[in-house]
Symmetry: C2
Subunit: 492 residues, 2 copies
């Protein structure tokens, strides 16, 4: 191996960190809780972003950009939202530094440059956006507004983990405004479906669609819809949320419109977002003890070609042939890299590409070339095979799709195997420790019981699945009557 | 007209603001000096960004993402850079808000949540990036690093103008690291060429490539290369800069590498950036008293089709034909919009699309359809013509390129007409007031003279053009000997 990796069995958290750092996805930074997204990680994010962006535009959304800062008076306007984020805000209080008279070459905050009103670095943009929508909306003709924003946001987290929980992260946030409640609810559900489709079809991560309990709702929402995914250690990860905001923000910012009946009415709102956190979900869904496993549809590199030179004279022959193959693959839209650097031996390169999760590796040696074949290795199954150079492009196109499907199927089987029903408190507690995963269990529907279960077990209600069937039962904790099972898990 | 516009002659600055606001590009925000980029303006920025991004990748660069915040101790490490930006920094000092005990429902900065070290919101990222590169660079094998970042930055400007000068703006910043001075200088010039090509070929804005005088250099650079463009009021606008940073940042952050001779050496650096300010240049280069004029290659909408209904029964007939045409145009990669909203009459729509600068407008009426033609209007020349529906797609593809070229030629002619030589102080001063534009004049090469000229006239040396020919002469202010002319102008 080029780089020592911790195995999952040895230390799951360390395994995750090793993959992020040694796989070249991200790095720690000099700023507490903030990460550097390295080129390989950023290329992955670009592929995810571009596909999501296409899906947003296909569903009628447009992009815009709103300020990074939220004046405190706007931030506090929607009370629940403000309360939810106040404890983790970066606050700008000054707009100038000056030379420190006591320390040569050092700077200090200039006390004379204090802002009249503090600015909060956006943890989310409902406040600044709804304050803007106020000026854009007069009549029903101005609705709906279907805007998305790609941006950085800051939430001052105390315990951070690369991608999973960082003080600054990249995300998109959709903020839509509607004339009716029904339309806003439809939008909320539509965007949840977009997220579920994206995460399953492109990231190959199976998800459960559901609704959050009131306890777990976004601060300021009437209803929070979510997609939840199961990681290899049996913990759940919230992969995306879509909020029906009711008229809360319209009322906080006094955004009314003249409806068709010529009456003033408050506007209905939604917001929805996914973030670089998804990369954490990707890593923990598919990777193994040898490194990352990238789903082909969003892999920065889909195919890597490694030349196996035998003496100097073989170089131009192999390079020439690879050049032809590269042209064929690129014409088919395959993201291919030729790793012909002379800084490392083939074995080292193999391990490196395995670590980085490149779906297909092709080794190109002289003898193979004479036989008009290449040696091809799949990252997902580790199978090797000899494949004819004729029609290699089309072969790879199909193979990449097969790998995509295989990775998804594997994750889906894992999720199904690790979703269990518990019908008593003892069973529930035992499962959590011995067979961690999603646990489907009855709950009496009260926030108090939910809170108590969390306190006792660290498990939370991930969601009430959208396709839930009603079923009479008894709450696992209180024994009180329940009408349906909900999905519990310990979570990231 | 749908919306009243101020004319250039009446009030140039108001004309500009009218175009930005009424053209739907941007809006003021609740945060002093920060703007909202509206969907139409953001779509324009996306087209610019995507093209630039392609050009960066074609020249071997990759994207990454570095933290928004720069700890004060890193910010002050490169002294000149710190000094240059200290006076306009947003500074985060606290990480939490709490309920204000004196005002119900209000929040206040929690004095107990004061950061040990203040964080500067990045005005530019050299400091945080070079502090990171330190960990990434050990040997010459780790070089070059060719990284670009798309990000928001904050500079606390006192007098702001939409797009031209805002407290927060969007930009890209390239930060490269090299083993030799020569390689770094080559990179600096290469990226200046990329900028010049992009701005001329896609934005249709002609530019002068040059080098800044020491007075006008980027804080921390050894040399600043720039592209300068001339606006319609005869003022210059700096459209992009590329900096050769020497070893300044490597020394400030102690970034050394083991060279091929096994010796430790400081790394050589460049940085280069363009921003949403370019949109200001675009507006002021091409627009007229009727509104914006978008160059087709980056126009959010290249062709708009407006139906001219005569009675209800004509609607399905026209809509059906337009659907066919839209499909043809889209297949050719033309960005086309069908404006069939019933909220406005055709005349109002015509004015609106003119205001928004859509390059080609097509009016589609029943009688035209019967004759198998459409009425087509060019935004740039305002010419109207009747064009056959057969082969309309290809006709438009060529027409859009012709419009692109025409817009560029017009701007180029304007720049040439308004670039003059001045050979005496009197001539120079008179020109500045009566024939504003670029003035090519002799300067004795001292910072003092440059400063004095600025003080007396508000004109600055925009650059020493790259293709400058040497020519003996006398400084327009001091009469001292000069070896070449330099380019003066009043500037944005």
């Amino acid at each position: 191996m080029s780089k020592e990796l911790t195995s999952r069995a040895e230390n799951y958290n360390q395994w995750y960190n090793d993959l992020v750092l040694k796989g070249g996805l991200a790095d720690y930074s000099a700023v507490k809780g903030c990460m550097v997204i390295k080129p390989y990680g950023y290329a992955l994010w670009e592929n995810m972003r571009d596909q999501l962006d296409r899906m947003f535009k296909e569903t009628g959304h447009v992009n815009a950009y709103f300020p990074l800062f939220v004046p405190k008076s706007l931030f506090e306007a929607e009370e629940k939202n403000a309360e939810g984020f106040a404890k983790e805000c970066a606050v700008v209080t000054h707009y100038r530094l000056k030379n420190d008279p006591d320390k040569k070459g050092r700077l200090m905050v200039d006390p004379e440059a204090k802002l009249e009103e503090e600015l909060v670095v956006r943890p989310t943009s409902e406040a600044i956006i709804w304050n803007t929508y106020k000026d854009w909306i007069q009549s029903y003709r101005d609705l709906p507004i279907l805007i998305n924003q790609w941006a950085n946001v800051v939430r001052w987290e105390m315990r951070t983990r690369l991608f999973l929980r960082t003080a600054e992260f990249l995300w998109q946030e959709g903020h839509t405004a509607h004339a009716t409640k029904e339309e806003a609810v439809d939008e909320t559900v539509k965007m949840l479906d977009v997220y579920a489709n994206f995460v399953e079809e492109y990231m190959a991560v199976p998800v459960i669609k559901g609704v959050k309990t009131p306890n777990e709702r976004f601060a300021g929402a009437e209803d929070t819809y979510c997609i939840e995914a199961l990681m290899q250690d049996g913990k759940a990860l919230q992969a995306g949320t879509s909020h029906f905001l009711g008229q809360n923000f319209a009322k906080a910012f006094n955004v009314q419109f003249l409806n068709k009946e010529n009456k003033q009415e408050y506007v209905w709102a939604t917001s929805w977002g996914v973030s670089t956190r998804l990369i954490g979900a990707l890593i923990m869904s598919h990777s193994d003890d040898n490194g990352l496993v990238m789903p082909p549809r969003i892999a920065p590199i889909q195919v890597v070609i490694v030349p196996i030179y035998k003496g100097e004279e073989s170089k131009p022959v192999i390079d020439g042939k690879v050049k032809e193959i590269m042209a064929e693959l690129k014409a088919l839209g395959i993201r291919v890299k030729y790793d012909d650097s002379d800084a490392a031996r083939p074995g080292w390169k193999f391990a490196e590409h395995e670590l980085k999760g490149v779906p297909v590796r092709i080794a190109m040696g002289l003898r193979d070339m004479e036989n008009n074949v290449v040696e091809l290795a799949r990252r997902d199954t580790k199978e090797k095979q000899s494949v004819s150079i004729d029609g290699l492009g089309n072969y790879l196109k199909h193979l990449l799709e097969e790998i995509q499907q295989n990775i998804f199927n594997k994750a889906l089987a894992f999720t199904k195997e690790n979703t269990r029903e518990a019908d008593s408190w003892e069973e529930f507690v035992k499962m959590l420790d011995e067979q961690p995963g999603f646990i489907s269990a009855h709950w009496d529907g009260t926030p108090e019981t939910e809170e108590k279960i969390k306190e006792l077990t660290k498990a939370t209600i991930r969601c009430i699945p959208l396709d839930n069937k009603l079923e009479a039962g008894k709450c696992i904790l209180t024994g009180n009557a329940s009408t349906q099972r909900v999905l519990f898990a310990r979570a990231y």
